[in-house]
């Protein structure tokens, strides 16, 4: 796992168990630099929210240390950590107005009333909600509440802000809009953000780095491009973006190119990334947009027989479900260019890809 000099947040061999029988988080090591936007991405039950709660102080680590700016914070109660947090359901206090909600963290810090007023107005202006200062949270729409929750987590100028699936309750359009807004606020203020989500597009849009969680372990920690283009293992390949999987056995590995015998008997070349060498089972991963559909065989790439099972017209591309090497869930995205093939259901064609775009990963 990569380490950073002088990390702002550091998880060191952190383990967490709720019942003393199973580990929800197994040996977590994660360094986050100051000013970074790190997303913890994973399916529900993968331990990502638990990690966030441990960082916020609402859960205690069963083992290991969590450090904030070089200081271990395991024994510091949440209210002394000075970490801003945005909750899934916003958690705006319903009996207080927007202004009072925002003033709350400043008042508990015993700030002068005049200064409180000034700061509240400033931060409300930043999220363009100044006109709503006297409203109660119940009088706001979901998106507006979201902005207020964000403003409240930022108003006391914490250096670290945690976000626990803050956009989960919003509709698609608003969610995308808020993604950009949060990204811009992060860029303008320079705060460190740790963001938890199970939505991969959200993670890809906003993050500097993404930690993909599964089964209590970080499966891969990388920037969005690396994560998508070069998944380390089968889980990441399957979880991030769309993926075609073909199962087979490694026949030989020459340099970094593996020759794989598929279960259907076809021989395919792939980049050897994460397999146990000759004779081991492997999963080949190919992205649907990296596949080419052709009527003729070409020698420059791996080519397999394919039969079109289903066609879905999506405007900019055509989603083509094919039967390839015995797998009828093979998806190819055919760009809607002016000269594209007249695809027909039942047509027998060839599908192919470059060796660089095919990765031989662990079998699971």
């Amino acid at each position: 796992m990569q380490t950073i000099d002088n990390p702002f947040v550091r998880f060191k061999n952190v383990q967490k168990s709720y019942d003393g029988e199973t580990l929800v988080v197994k040996d977590l090591n994660l360094d986050i630099a100051a000013g970074e936007f790190v997303t913890m991405l994973g399916p529900s039950g993968s331990g990502k929210t638990t990690c966030l709660m441990m960082l916020a102080g609402f859960e205690t680590a069963t083992h290991g240390d969590i450090e904030l700016a070089g200081r271990p914070i395991n024994n510091i109660p949440p209210h002394k950590r000075g970490i801003g947090m945005v909750f899934q359901n916003y958690a705006l206090f319903p009996h207080m107005t927007v202004g009072e909600n925002l003033a709350f963290p400043l008042k508990v810090r015993k700030m002068e009333p005049a200064k409180v007023e000034e700061k509240v107005r400033k931060v409300l202006d930043m999220v363009q909600m100044l006109a709503f200062i006297d409203r109660k949270p119940a009088q706001l729409s979901g998106g507006q509440q979201q902005r207020i929750a964000l403003a409240r987590a930022l108003v006391f100028e914490p250096e670290l802000v945690l976000m626990d699936e803050p956009l989960g309750a919003l509709d698609k359009q608003l969610r995308e809009h808020m993604q950009y807004e949060i990204k811009h606020i992060h860029e303008n203020l320079g705060v460190t953000v740790v963001y938890v989500t199970h939505d991969q597009s959200e993670a890809l849009t906003m993050s500097n780095r993404i930690a993909v969680f599964d089964d209590g372990i970080i499966q891969q920690l990388a920037d969005p491009v690396t994560l998508y283009e070069k998944p380390d293992n089968a889980f990441v390949a399957q979880f991030i973006g769309e993926n075609n999987r073909l199962n087979g056995t490694v026949e030989s590995v020459v340099k970094s190119v593996a020759t794989v015998k598929l279960d259907s008997g076809h021989m395919v070349k792939a980049l050897s990334i994460n397999n146990d060498g000759k004779g081991s089972r492997t999963m080949l991963s190919v992205r649907p947009e990296r596949c080419v559909v052709s009527a003729k065989k070409s020698s420059s790439m791996s080519m397999l027989d394919a039969r079109i099972e289903e066609l879905i017209y999506l405007g900019d591309h055509i989603r083509c479900r094919m039967n390839v090497a015995g797998d009828d869930q093979f998806i190819v995205k055919v760009p809607n260019t002016s000269g594209h093939l007249g695809l027909e259901i039942g047509a027998n064609l060839y599908v192919g890809w470059k060796t660089d775009d095919c990765r031989a990963l662990d079998y699971r």
Binding site: H79, R81, I83, G84, A91, L92, F104, P105, L162
Partner: protein
Amino acid sequence: MAITDVNSSAEMPITAADGTPLKKKLAQALFRSRVRAVGLVLPLFAFVMASFVIPILALMWQGVYNDTFASYTPNLTQQLAKWDGVSTPSEEMFAALVTDLKTAREDKTIGRIATRVNQELPGTRSLFTSSARKVKKAAPPYAESMMKIDKDWGNLEVWQAMKLTSQSLTPGFYATALDSKYTVDQGFVSQVENRQIYVKLFWRTLLISGTVMLLCLLLGYPVAYLLATLPLRYSNLLMIMVLLPFWTSLLVRTTAWIAILQSQGVVNDLLVWIGITGDESRFSLIYNMTGTIVAMTHILLPFMILPLYSVMKTIPPSYMRAARSLGATPTRAFLKVYMPQTIPGVGAGGLLVFILAIGYYITPALVGGQDGQLISNMIAYHMQKSLNWSLAAALGGILLAGVLLLYWAYDRIIGIDNMKLG
């Protein structure tokens, strides 16, 4: 009709496709479902009217209207109406008295007349019953003759009491219920010191109800909080324990407290055993106000816990977490964020317990002794023992007015809409 008014005031009446006004058309369309809805509610409505609303109104009416005297002594009532209430009673009045006493003796209604006047002027019961037995000897001049039968007939107070009771519509019972006296010549005067009991009792009822309410809140709040926050398997068990009292009879629970609190009871035995008190100076924990408060708090506790629980259940734990992440200490987060959100539950539970307590009857009757009695015990006494239903109705009327006043005050301060009962 309202429909035509609305339409004429509007610039252009909106009509349905066939030209009839839209409102009329809508009413027609909804008629069936309205009839069905009314039909579903009607049986209960009729039942409530017949068994609850009408009896209450009838009894309330008795609090200001009692025609026992007027209906059994028609002649005397006529004469008393003419009388100024201070001059010496005239011969005609005595004559009417003799006629009515004779009739009452024959009809065996003299007991009721005597009882009614006795309510107004205690100690006059025998005057009427004995005079009625002897009245056949009376001969004109009746004043002299009656005075011979019993010299009390010359007492002006007796005649004033009769004049008051002859007025069927009277504020007298309400006056009595407020420790005052309605008189012929001076209007309302306050009752003599040693007969002032009701106002004191009303205050005591308020005091005990208030104490019970506060105790319930103090004891119930943490329990409700636990109920709302514990994991399901523990909270279910706790909920069963809270509801357990509902499955046992009120009488059983009250008598259980007698067993626990009496001078030879569990608590006193324990205190003696520990050595806090001597065997001869055991605490009197029951048959007084303490007993009433303890037993009533126990019995009314679920009525506080359940509304509190239903409100607390809706407060997600993330509010407290948010408050703490914003820098508030646990105490401050609780006071500033959690507690204000439970106000609707506190209000609902408090109001429920207070109103139930104010009219509580069985428990104080069993464990209250002398100074643990509430106004409801006095109402029961007048309903069952002294048979002064009018006074009972007046006391009940004042209690009802008090409850309505409280309800109104609650609505003004907290708002009924904010109340959450579950």
